[in-house]
């Protein structure tokens, strides 16, 4: 009985010693509650300071800066868009001006061409008319000359033939007979 109790206490003693030793050196220091309160206390203090400083001072700064950047970027984008639109409008205007001036140039060219053509035509017509007039006059003259020429030729032929006859046979032939012969020949020539 007595022996049993001694053995039991010894066993408990060794076990507890072993347990304590395990907790202190061999086991996990994490399960040793000696410094638990200290750890909790300092955790609360350090984390509290961290939270306060971050939330009150640092994070607002960062978020402000991010917002500023965002708004600035948006602003810049807007400005760029606006300027792009403006330049596009200008470009369109420029294109319109070029198109307009092209049309103007074409019109001007056509107009002047027409004018020139008209002018040339007028002048040509005038010239042609003049030429026609002169031609008519000349033709009339020629006609007149043509009309007159057979009589003259006949006269000359009569005179020459009379002279020739006179020279050949020394006889003054009657003009009227010669005239008859000449007109006969000339009429024959005409028929030829």
């Amino acid at each position: 009985m007595f022996k049993k109790i001694i053995v039991k206490t010894l066993a408990v003693y060794f076990l507890s010693i072993n347990f304590i030793q395990a907790a202190e050196s061999g086991g996990m220091p994490q399960l040793n509650p000696e410094f638990w309160f200290s750890q909790i206390f300092w955790l609360v203090i350090t984390f509290g300071i961290l939270y306060l400083v971050l939330s009150k001072i640092i994070l607002p700064k960062i978020s402000d800066n991010l917002e500023t950047r965002k708004s600035q970027v948006l602003e810049n984008l807007e400005l760029a868009e606006k300027q792009r639109n403006e330049s596009e409008a200008k470009l369109k205007e420029f294109d319109n001006i070029i198109l307009k001036s092209k049309i103007d140039a074409k019109n001007l060219f056509n107009e002047s061409r027409k004018k020139l053509l008209d002018d040339i035509n007028n002048k040509r017509q005038k010239l042609e008319e003049e030429i026609d007039k002169e031609l008519k006059i000349v033709e009339a003259e020629i006609e007149e000359l043509k009309k007159k020429s057979p009589e003259k030729i006949n006269k000359i032929a009569i005179e020459t033939s009379a002279d020739v006859i006179n020279q050949l046979i020394g006889v003054n032939v009657n003009n009227s007979s010669i005239t008859a012969i000449v007109s006969d020949i000339s009429s024959k020539n005409k028929t030829l």
Partner: protein
């Protein structure tokens, strides 16, 4: 396991029998806080339209957390942005500082992660009851469940809701502790196997360091995004 030991730095401070001495854990909490504040302070000192590198870092993390919150919890969660941002940064920096050799990893202690998780749990529950009154209890009654299964489902939902702080805290704590223990173990192998056989564990150590840095970021992200999801439950009662 000595890397997880907490020891007192400086004198013992006691407030009515409760020991709140400054320890190495407190030191690294303070270092994390000061590092975060310094980085963000220099990042926001000269706010310009075209940001400097530190400013860009601050703005990128701002938009990262902001997008995370709006994606998971919607626009209603905007008032809690600074809290989640601080939480994410604190956990991230505690994890990352722990990756430097001979430093102490604050988040590898269950009590720290549990206090954070419990605070989130209580806060989210209070927000839920303020926003929806007793209607917040509808969270435990999913719609479209047959009447026969309803009692069972409600019990499961309540248990899963109540285990949120535990799962949230244990996830972070276990990940950090396991990672650091693994690195310690492989480091020990390098020493014990010496110049002949130590190369393989050394390679593992290098790979693990990379993995741990990833885990450090990932766990901070998971912690923050789960907070957002819990907040979403409280703000927009979907069930």
């Amino acid at each position: 396991m000595t890397q997880f030991n907490v020891y007192r730095i400086g004198p013992e401070i006691k407030i009515s029998e409760i020991d709140i001495s400054f320890t190495n854990a407190s030191l690294f909490m303070a270092i994390s806080t000061i590092t975060i504040l310094l980085i963000f302070n220099f990042g926001t000192k000269k706010n310009s339209i075209i940001p400097s590198k530190l400013q860009l870092l601050g703005e990128l993390s701002y938009s990262f957390v902001s997008k995370m919150i709006s994606d998971t919890a919607g626009t209603k969660a905007k008032p809690y942005f600074s809290f989640i941002f601080s939480l994410f940064m604190f956990v991230l920096f505690c994890n990352m500082l722990g990756m430097i050799p001979y430093t102490f990893t604050v988040t590898s202690h269950i009590i720290v992660t549990f206090v954070l998780a419990a605070f989130i749990f209580i806060g989210v529950t209070i927000i839920g009851f303020i926003k929806h009154g007793l209607g917040y209890l509808k969270l435990f009654v999913p719609s479209g469940v047959p009447m026969v299964l309803l009692p069972l489902i409600v019990v499961i939902e309540i248990i899963s809701y109540l285990s949120r702080p535990i799962s949230l805290s244990v996830r972070l704590f276990a990940n950090m502790m396991a990672g650091h223990t693994m690195m310690k173990v492989f480091g020990g192998f390098v020493v014990s196997l010496g110049i002949v056989g130590g190369w393989l564990p050394l390679g593992f150590s290098v790979a693990l360091t990379g993995l741990e840095i990833l885990v450090a970021f990932l766990q901070a992200y998971v912690f923050a995004i789960l907070t957002c999801i819990y907040l979403n439950d409280a703000l927009n009662l979907h069930h």
